[in-house]
């Protein structure tokens, strides 16, 4: 039987935290860096997809649908491993960072794309008509009238997706990119102790909780606004 002291020692050892901290810190930095890379990348991909979705010809519509459906159906882990392990068979060397970048661009971009498309469709048609009637071009109307309102209308969904994306960066550990989770497992195996994993969980919590709070407040505000 495990005693209380054993339990504390195995999961919440302050000494282990101190020992493992340099490794964890190293991983945390990479997780943050990766998030700062993949969120804008996914957002960029999503914006492109959403803008393409406003083109109403089947030559755009069908490939777009196939693209979005494919990358939303594929598990991101499968996609990432495929890119990292598959691309080298073509003779191209690919770094873990590049594989992660491409994988998230494809997967996350498709999710952001669907959210933004819903946002664009939530803006009443009359807005575009008013703008076009004053001589604004299609793209000026998109940039100044439709997109700002679209972003605002789906802001909670965008934040929610961003939360998921940051959490998802932990899958980079399978392509040996030493981010937070990967480093925590390293530290765990070096110290023979579960504390580094708990520490990683706490770090993720501290990292994401403020965003969760903001999201809740926005959702409450949206609910109140609808009443």
């Amino acid at each position: 039987m495990m005693t209380w002291d054993d339990f504390i020692l195995a999961f919440f050892s302050w000494q282990i935290v101190q020992e493992a901290w340099p490794i964890l810190w190293d991983g945390l930095q990479r997780t943050i860096l990766m998030s700062l890379m993949v969120v804008p990348l996914g957002f960029l991909g999503g914006t492109i997809l959403a803008l393409l979705s406003t083109v109403h010809t089947r030559w755009v519509r069908w490939p777009l649908m196939a693209w979005v459906d494919t990358f939303r159906s594929l598990p991101p882990l499968v996609l990432l491993i495929f890119i990292y392990a598959g691309v080298p068979f073509t003779g191209l060397e690919i770094s873990a960072w590049a594989a992660v970048g491409i994988g998230f661009f494809l997967n996350t971009g498709s999710y952001y794309g669907e959210i933004l498309r819903a946002g664009i469709e939530s803006v009443p048609k009359g807005q575009q008509e008013a703008a076009r009637s004053t001589g604004l071009t299609r793209w000026q109307t998109m940039a100044h009238i439709v997109l700002p309102q679209a972003f605002r209308n789906v802001l909670p969904d965008l934040i929610s997706n961003t939360l998921e994306v940051v959490k998802l960066t932990s899958i980079a550990s399978v392509v040996a990119l030493p981010e937070l989770l990967f480093q925590a497992r390293q530290a765990q195996s070096v110290t023979y102790n579960a504390t580094p994993i708990v520490a990683a969980a706490v770090i993720y919590f501290i990292l994401l909780w403020p965003m969760v709070r903001v999201l809740s407040r926005l959702e409450n505000k949206a609910l109140a606004g609808r009443r």
């Binding site: 076009r132 001589g135 009238i145």
Partner: protein
Amino acid sequence: MAIVEATGIHKHFGALHVLKGVDLVVHEKELVFVIGPSGSGKSTLLRCLNRLEEPSGGSIIVDGVDMLSPRTDINKARQRIGMVFQSFNLYPHMTALGNVTLALRKVLKLGRAEAEERGQAALKRVHLEDRADHFPGQLSGGQQQRVAIARAIALEPRVMLFDEPTSALDPELVGGVLEAMRELRRDGMTMVVVSHEMAFAKAAADRVVFMADGMIVEQGTPAEVFGNPQHERTRAFIGQIDRH
């Protein structure tokens, strides 16, 4: 001089034949009122004039510009045609002044200072210069529609199209919008108005056009159309209106 010359306008929506060869000429400084039962195609006609709706056939010349020619820069042509919508369609994320100056800055490419000066002047013409910093959500429906009028006239159009400008307003707010339209008319604006405000039509219109089933049935001065309608459809419509 004709500002608007629409000839033989047809419009199909799928199987629906909404406009069946409509001819409409509007002269400079003329106020033309288009009336008719709902579904008669009057709003569609108006929306064809600035090509918000693509006509299926016919020709439209506005201020000498062939609106349907592929060589026409439609964005440039639309600067000369102001439009006011039933549901105002103000940009909710911009202030009243922002609504009015957007096209001045992005279409006419004016600098911020000049655009704001012109925007303020346009707001002043609809007596809302003190509401410049308000967002549409902070304005009454009547005020919103007057901002929408300011947004259109800031571009100094040659003709203004009004698509049921007072239909979405509470009765007590209609007066302010009609007053703004009356002042525009006094300043010599050419106007085409689709509306059910018959009292306003009688008082202000130069010509009343009655439409039914996608055709112009009859037109003339308000006295002629309201006082002595020639067609059965017109008589029935005006009889119905008067009973209200």
